[in-house]
Symmetry: C2
Subunit: 310 residues, 2 copies
């Protein structure tokens, strides 16, 4: 599910649900964000042939303080709930946890979801950079979007085949003048660990997608990969860059949990289902903006990688 | 690890580390909170005969927005990190996730931690009730405390034998005049599910501990258990009540992630290690205070249960 602006982007036709307005029938943007997550989980459950009551547990998160939207969505769906926080890497974090909980046979049907909303993201403490530096080329636009997966052991559909939990990385000061460039070293760190742990090469994936590096972060990520001897540029797409058309005036592109959640669960998995894509590596990227609360000038970041195969 | 005030409480002698002051050598309370978590994880790793670099992953959370303290602690320990948010139920949520990740053989050594700090908790948006209603008998005092567990498959030490992931519960309006009473229905809901799923009775546990219901929430929880035909009162302890002496002027008792984290990892597990306690059920309780962001008057809540046996 995406908002009106994302619906006018290059992938607009490939999302299941485009909201007509930002309030989505609710009284507040926070209420709208919660409803987005709830409806996305319901939609995913329906596609898996399940009612929401058939789900064993929901793992979800967002950027709002204290997981306002996820908690309310979980209350309304009324099933066991595990709240997570990985900033914009939340969808990847949840997918990793969910895959282990299903594969280990602790739960049979696990829903994983993540959401962001432009109007809560741009006024909240998560985006001081967005507020202060709107005119700067590195600024990114919070995506209004949600995505949900239902993970089961039924052997149907795409499969999470491996994953890498990332560590928190503190970027070099001269490189981290915006969230996108601050996240590039975390994306590289996790990619290198993933390739080392699995013995794979970038060429083993049809596409490697990052969550929300944006244009400037993407350039830095590709440069760092090339310096590490990795052929990534030819098979890399950044969700935050891809979701908007250059004419949409979003500076460096999109950001937010909904960026990778909506692009993964919509366009990318649709293409896998249609047979156009077989091996996908999702690197969810998160700028841990709370660095600012600690009096630090630049963002620490994290990235988690999830391999999905047809 | 606990703060100076908790060190003067009835269990003071049973914690591993009592801080001399609230800044703990840092420049900010947030920095102090992060250091508490980091040092507690290091202490737990050391007790397990491990260096921090031997840990495969850390699962941690707190009440600070965007997991400021946990993210920084994870950066400094520099191992893979999964951030979680369960309000004051965070230690239980992390323990459940960690147990599955180890039991399923996805990781060998998992650290789980949670922290709260009085001075960040009482000024943050997580405690509007504490700020506004300090003089009310239902008000609770944010515990300065941290706890960490190292979970492994080595067969030594206490074992997590079963667990129940809770769902978000919205209390009856007339019962929820403070966070403690708002959490009581969630604690009951999870206890009932746990007993039903496992076929156990309260008598199968030596002690059932709740996280931070406080005095008034505890009374309501026991009343609800009795009404449901459960003999809980004789074997129930609430960490938020237990951690302070009545003379310490904390109204209804303690609250915060550190309440159950410090009491579980200190006094309760020490007693299990000493052979005085064999079967423990921890019900981590969390008031999802973000209800306020949604314009709601009372807290939605969640509780997760973890059974630990000697």
């Amino acid at each position: 599910m995406v908002g009106p602006m994302e619906g006018r982007g290059p992938f607009g036709a490939e999302f299941d649900w485009i909201m007509e307005d930002y309030l989505f029938g609710e009284e507040t943007w926070e209420g709208s964000e919660s409803k987005m997550l709830r409806e996305t989980v319901r939609l995913a459950a329906g596609k898996a042939g399940l009612g929401e009551g058939d789900l064993d547990v929901i793992i979800a998160g967002e950027l709002l303080n204290h997981l306002t939207a996820s908690s309310k969505a979980a209350r309304e769906i009324s099933i066991p709930y595990l709240g997570i926080y990985g900033a914009c890497s939340t969808m990847a974090e949840g997918s990793i946890l969910g895959a282990m909980l299903v594969d280990g046979q602790y739960f049979e049907q696990v829903a994983v979801g993540a959401v962001s909303h432009h109007h809560t993201g741009e006024r909240g403490p998560a985006s001081p950079a967005a507020l202060r530096h709107r005119a700067q080329p590195g600024a990114q636009w919070t995506v209004t979007g949600a995505g949900a997966l239902v993970l089961t052991n039924d052997g149907k559909g795409p499969c999470i085949t491996s994953a890498t939990v990332g560590r928190v990385v503190y970027p070099d000061e001269e490189e981290a003048d915006n969230a996108g460039t601050a996240m590039a070293p975390a994306a590289l760190d996790t990619l290198l660990t993933h390739l080392q742990d699995t013995g794979k090469k970038p060429e083993d994936y049809d596409v490697i997608i990052t969550g929300d590096l944006g244009k400037i972060g993407t350039a830095l990520f590709r440069e760092k990969c090339a310096a590490a001897g990795l052929d990534v540029a030819s098979r890399h797409a950044d969700c935050g860059v891809a979701i908007y058309d250059p004419s949409q005036n979003v500076n460096a592109g999109g950001r937010g949990c909904g960026s990778s959640a909506a692009m993964l669960c919509g366009p990318f998995l649709n293409r896998m289902a249609a047979g156009h894509l077989n091996r996908l590596l999702v690197i969810g990227t998160g700028a841990l903006t709370s660095s600012r609360q600690l009096g630090e000038e630049i963002y620490m970041s994290i990235a988690h990688a999830v391999a999905i195969e047809a």
